[in-house]
């Protein structure tokens, strides 16, 4: 009897969610048709790039509880790796993404090694230092263009230049979907459970046989690959890559989105990242350009004070409230 009920329930779930992928696919394809202005199309590509960063943050902080400020270092490394590779070889952006991912994994592993020896505040500071080191190295490297950075690269995929905003959008959307799929897959697998165990209690995790150092290394490597791929696409949007790409500004925007949304929920983080990125770019239309960072700051303070779980926590609160009231009634 219970088997039958479970099968019926599973069918119902599939029925309820079955239309979602179709609508999503239709919308992703339809978005560039609806949005015709090239500037807005470029912005769509940029939003997708920032979303890839958010997914990596969700994996690193939401699943594994590793508070890192080193995203800028990996993002910049990916940007430089891809731009240099494309300039030197003229290869397709797909190869550049692979190169950037490898660089991201390597830098992530180095960070993971450091993470295994530090905790919390020291981990944040140690990862933040990576950005400063990377910026300094790049600024003094003639091969990487020194302080002026690199320009004049031709990003292309399947013969289509990424100067065409729709091509950039497709590329970024594809990488984003890949990152989302991998993040969801990690979440449901052994690694995901190990990550959550690491997040919720490292000592307890070790006591049940989880090698937390290996897990930390893995999560930094996986999120490093995502971040570096986002960085790899950034030069196609900005058309230049210079040491300012190691700036912590972008990391802070994504961290703000994570704090407000609730970093454990991938949909919430993505929605907030999109909303905040679009808001910042359009803020002048509403006369708020000078107050964007102020608004972000106030949002973070308010959320941490009143809703530490973020917007994603609202659903859980409602569920808890309904359960409690329902329980009382019965």
């Amino acid at each position: 009897m219970s088997d039958v009920l479970e099968r019926v329930n599973a069918t119902a779930v599939r029925y309820r969610t079955g239309w979602v992928p179709a609508v999503v696919a239709f919308a992703i394809i339809g978005l560039p048709v609806v949005v015709t202005d090239p500037a807005q199309r470029f912005l769509m590509g940029y939003v997708a790039i920032v979303c890839i960063l958010s997914v990596s943050l969700h994996v690193l902080m939401g699943m594994a509880g590793q508070f890192s400020l080193g995203q800028a270092a990996i993002f910049g490394s990916g940007a430089y790796a891809s731009a240099w590779f494309v300039l030197e070889t003229g290869a397709s952006v797909i190869l550049a993404l692979v190169v950037a991912a490898v660089v991201g994994v390597l830098v992530g592993c180095v960070m993971g090694t450091v993470a295994a020896r530090t905790t919390e505040l020291y981990l944040a500071l140690a990862t933040l230092a990576f950005g400063f080191v990377a910026e300094s190295l790049v600024r003094n490297s003639e091969t990487l263009g020194g302080a002026q950075g690199l320009r004049g690269f031709d990003y292309h995929v399947f013969g289509q230049s990424l100067l065409e905003p729709v091509a950039l959008y497709w590329c970024a959307a594809a990488v984003l979907l890949l990152a989302m799929a991998i993040a969801a897959s990690v979440r449901r697998g052994r690694l995901g459970r190990a990550l959550m165990a690491l997040r919720d209690g490292p000592v307890a995790a070790r006591s049940v046989g989880i090698d937390t150092r290996v897990v930390q290394l893995l999560v930094f490597a996986v999120s490093g690959a995502f971040i570096a791929m986002a960085g790899a696409l950034y030069p196609a949007y900005a058309l230049t890559v210079d040491p300012s790409v190691f700036s912590i500004d972008l990391t802070l925007v994504v961290l703000t989105a994570a704090a407000v949304a609730g970093v454990r929920s991938m949909p919430s983080v993505l929605v907030l990242t999109i909303a905040m990125t679009v808001f910042r770019h359009q803020s002048q239309s509403w006369g708020l350009a000078s107050y964007v960072l102020l608004i972000y700051g106030v949002l973070v303070v308010l959320m941490l004070r009143f809703m530490p779980e973020g917007i994603a926590g609202i659903g859980a609160r409602i569920t808890r409230w309904a359960t409690r009231n329902g329980g009382d009634a019965s």
Partner: protein, 386 residues
């Protein structure tokens, strides 16, 4: 088996929910278009500047320069059209600057772009305007802006020209024999120091000391002791941050260094340095309080009236750039191609801040050398104009 199936369902629901969330939020973009705002009797142009964020002080100068010039030109009424600038705040962020320039050109159909001000935001926007084939009026001193792009018109002297002129002044004019160089580890600082070393070599001289420091450094003792040991007549500085200039001047005085400091005019630096700035020689296209420039006081007042609290050369050259654009538009050039052609032919244009600006089809640097002036504790006094 059932567990695996259930997990798979949960996973696909999670991806589907995330993807749906992404798409719904991204769809909001479709509603965020802009409209062109030019009508027949108006000439609209884009001013993309850092009105907020860390470079907002420069952005305020540009805004003031454009507004003051537009007010004067429109009040004169000798153009067939009314100038109408549209300001885009790029929040001192590279990605937003790029986005705003794209919006200005593709959505708002602006035929010409002014700004932004600093090299880190100007270089990527120059890539965009080059690809969109739109003339671009810039103020940053980075040489690559006019060397690597054909659509940019610099309303300032380039870093190359400034560095060469500073050596010409120090060695050619002041006959200094022992020259030291100080620079920040920034793109402008490093490039300027290299140019100065090259220019010194042309005078068969070598810098007696070359000292680098981090931008925003607080204690310069180690660098200044190195300079003191080298015993220079003149110290060439390529700083671009007022607090760096002020700290160097103050700490140099405290350590008893008697060499004359020569560096770029950075707004607010002399005020921050106080008495230590007396005798400091700077190079700049324009000085707000230059006793020997009859236009300076009036232009400074105009810039102040438009919101530039401490007017500097950035606002002044922007004023001239806007007048120059008006001159080109006044000749009937309102399309992007015609404006570019008009700017190419803008020779010996009499500005208010700078006596003469000259461009050519192959020379997009409007100014070849700055003016040198010495700070006497209250105001500047011109000491050399090449």
């Amino acid at each position: 088996m059932r567990v695996r199936s259930a997990r798979r369902t949960v996973s696909s629901r999670s991806v589907a929910r995330s993807a749906a969330a992404v798409v719904i939020a991204a769809s909001a973009l479709a509603a965020c278009g802009s409209e062109a705002e030019t009508s027949g009797d108006e000439f609209a142009f884009a001013v993309v500047v850092e009105q907020s964020g860390p470079f907002a002080a420069y952005g305020a100068e540009v805004v003031a320069g454009v507004k003051a010039a537009v007010k004067d030109v429109n009040a004169r009424g000798d153009l067939d059209v009314t100038l109408k600038p549209k300001f885009y705040d790029c929040q001192s962020d590279q990605a937003i600057c790029v986005s705003q320039v794209r919006t200005a050109v593709t959505a708002d159909k602006m035929p010409v772009v002014l700004g932004p001000t600093v090299s880190v935001t100007t270089l990527p926007t120059a890539e965009v305007t080059q690809q969109l084939d739109v003339p671009h009026l810039v103020f940053s001193v980075v040489p690559q802006l006019t060397e690597d792009y054909t659509n940019t018109y610099r309303w300032a002297a380039s870093n190359h020209d400034n560095a060469r002129a500073s050596v010409d002044y120090v060695v050619g004019e002041r006959k200094a024999e022992r020259v030291a160089i100080v620079h920040a580890n920034t793109e402008i600082g490093q490039a300027a120091a290299e140019d100065q070393i090259a220019a010194l070599e042309e005078y068969d001289q070598k810098a007696v000391a070359e000292v680098a420091h981090d931008p925003g450094q607080k204690d310069y003792t180690s660098q200044l002791l190195k300079l003191k040991n080298a015993d220079p007549d003149v110290i060439l500085s390529t700083e671009s941050d007022p607090s760096d200039v002020a700290s160097l001047l103050r700490q140099s005085k405290e350590l008893g260094i008697e060499a004359t400091w020569v560096g770029a005019d950075i707004a607010g630096a002399t005020k921050l340095a106080g008495d230590a700035a007396t005798g400091y020689v700077t190079y700049s296209p324009w000085y707000a309080d230059n006793a020997e420039d009859e236009n300076a006081a009036e232009l400074a007042e105009k810039l102040k009236a438009e919101g530039a609290d401490n007017p500097s050369w950035v606002g002044a050259v922007t004023y001239d750039a806007t007048l120059g654009l008006a001159e080109v538009v006044g000749q009937g050039n309102v399309s992007k191609d015609d404006i570019a052609k008009g700017l190419d032919e803008l020779a010996d244009f009499k500005g208010t801040a700078v006596p003469s600006w000259s461009f050519g089809a192959k020379d997009h640097d409007g100014l070849d050398s700055p003016t040198f002036a010495e700070w006497d504790g209250t105001r500047y006094r011109t000491v050399w104009r090449p």
